[in-house]
């Protein structure tokens, strides 16, 4: 009896240790490529939302911001993840700091219902935020057109943009005053 328990422990230990070694090996082989892929995706999203290839990054109060100088003024891009109908909706938003308007909105990831909430990705929906003043009310069915049958998703995106944009602009202003 005692022997068999020792054998169980031994076999399980050997299996677990060899699995650990295999995992470590594959992690060392793939980690760099995975990080590079993630970075490439991030850069592509920032470039898309800023509409410009060159940008700089900074972290203000724990929030990662991407800034760029364009003829239209200084732009800042950031991510936000408001709660949608079925999980967080990951958005990347760019704001023109001088005009205090939204420049562009890109949906990065979401788990909304196909055919309903998933239509937040469609350009007619995200396009309506382009050039919208941050002072605007951002109320669905008033100054923002909602997706039929997906009011929750539409509201989540609309409020997410407004709230996070206000926070980022405030953060940047506070940073300037502090200097």
């Amino acid at each position: 009896m005692k022997n068999s328990i020792l054998r169980y422990v031994l076999v399980l230990t050997i299996i677990a240790v060899s699995s650990g070694i295999a995992l470590g090996f594959f992690n060392s082989v793939t980690a760099e490529q995975i990080a590079a892929n993630r970075r490439a995706r991030e850069v592509a999203a920032v470039q898309r939302v800023l509409g410009i290839d060159q940008f700089s990054e900074k972290v203000v109060d724990g929030k990662k911001l991407y800034t760029a100088q364009t003829p239209d003024g200084e732009l800042v891009a950031f991510t936000c993840a408001p709660s949608g109908f079925s999980g967080p909706i990951s958005l990347m938003v760019s704001v023109n700091l001088e005009a205090e308007t939204v420049r562009r909105v890109v949906v990065l990831e979401h788990a909304e219902t196909p055919g309903l909430g998933a239509r937040i990705q469609e350009s007619w929906f995200t396009q309506q935020f382009a050039g919208k003043a941050l002072k605007d009310p951002f109320v669905v069915k008033k100054d923002v057109e909602a997706i039929t049958g997906a009011t929750i998703s539409s509201t989540a995106v609309t409020r997410g943009i407004k709230e996070e944009a206000a926070r980022v602009v405030a953060l940047l202003k506070a940073g300037v005053d502090g200097e």
């Binding site: 068999s4 054998r7 169980y8 076999v11 399980l12 299996i15 677990a16 699995s19 295999a22 995992l23 594959f26 992690n27 082989v29 793939t30 980690a31 490529q33 995975i34 892929n37 995706r41 219902t113 196909p114 055919g115 309903l116």
Partner: protein, 215 residues
């Protein structure tokens, strides 16, 4: 081609006959391409898991076989996840959430327990490959049907044209159950009619019982 490979394709098809591994089957099949990708990822894990578990079948004591299988399968799934994230980032982005689910796919545990632990690595390899491909085509078929009705496309290619009004139900979770049920029903009907024909063919043409009634 041997019988261990063939059986998973149709006669013991994991999805349509044994009805195991339902969680990924119903969750990922919103498009044909997702079915292909999920099927192939599962096949890779299944083949390796079968071969490893079969090679270790004399080493692993019966009392600790389940934890041993889980450690082996979980490691293989994690490796698959990392390899896909590194080299197939686009597919990984779609399937990212579902790959960890392969660990609890009872298809893999089921084959480990029912086949790999009792047979040698060579048969276990063919069994895993056959079951994996059987699973892949089943998922692809369900995905294609749901995509066809839910979006009017198959593999992203438009089938019904732009005037088609998609039946969104097909893409929603209930659509998975409905599609799955209908396909299993068709599968059963085909199998039954095939068996009946076989049965008729094996009988002598002049059935003495029938003749006596007729006379």
């Amino acid at each position: 081609m041997n019988k261990e490979f063939i059986k998973g394709l149709w006669k013991e098809n994991p999805t349509f006959v044994m009805l195991i591994g339902m969680c990924p089957t119903l969750a990922v099949t919103t498009a044909a391409i997702n079915g292909v990708a999920m099927g192939l990822a599962t096949t890779a894990v299944l083949v390796f898991a079968n071969v490893i578990i079969s090679s270790l079948r004399r080493v692993i004591p019966k009392a600790v076989r389940i934890p041993s299988y889980i450690v082996v399968i979980a490691s293989l799934v994690t490796i698959t996840d990392m390899v896909m994230a590194a080299f197939f980032p686009d597919i990984h982005k779609v399937l990212g959430l579902f790959i960890p689910l392969i660990i609890v796919n009872c298809l893999i545990m089921g084959r480990a327990e029912a086949f790999a632990s009792k047979n040698e690595p060579k048969s276990a390899f063919w069994d895993g490959l056959g079951m994996g491909i059987g699973f892949t085509w089943a998922l692809t078929l369900i995905g294609a049907v749901r995509e066809l009705f839910g979006a009017g496309t198959v593999f992203g290619q438009s089938v019904f044209g732009s005037s088609y009004q998609p039946v969104i139900l097909a893409l929603l979770p209930p659509g998975a159950f409905i599609t799955m049920g209908l396909i299993v029903a068709i599968f059963k009907a085909v199998e039954l009619s095939y068996k009946r024909r076989l049965h008729h063919a094996s009988r002598p043409v002049s059935d003495p019982g029938k003749l006596s009634v007729g006379q």
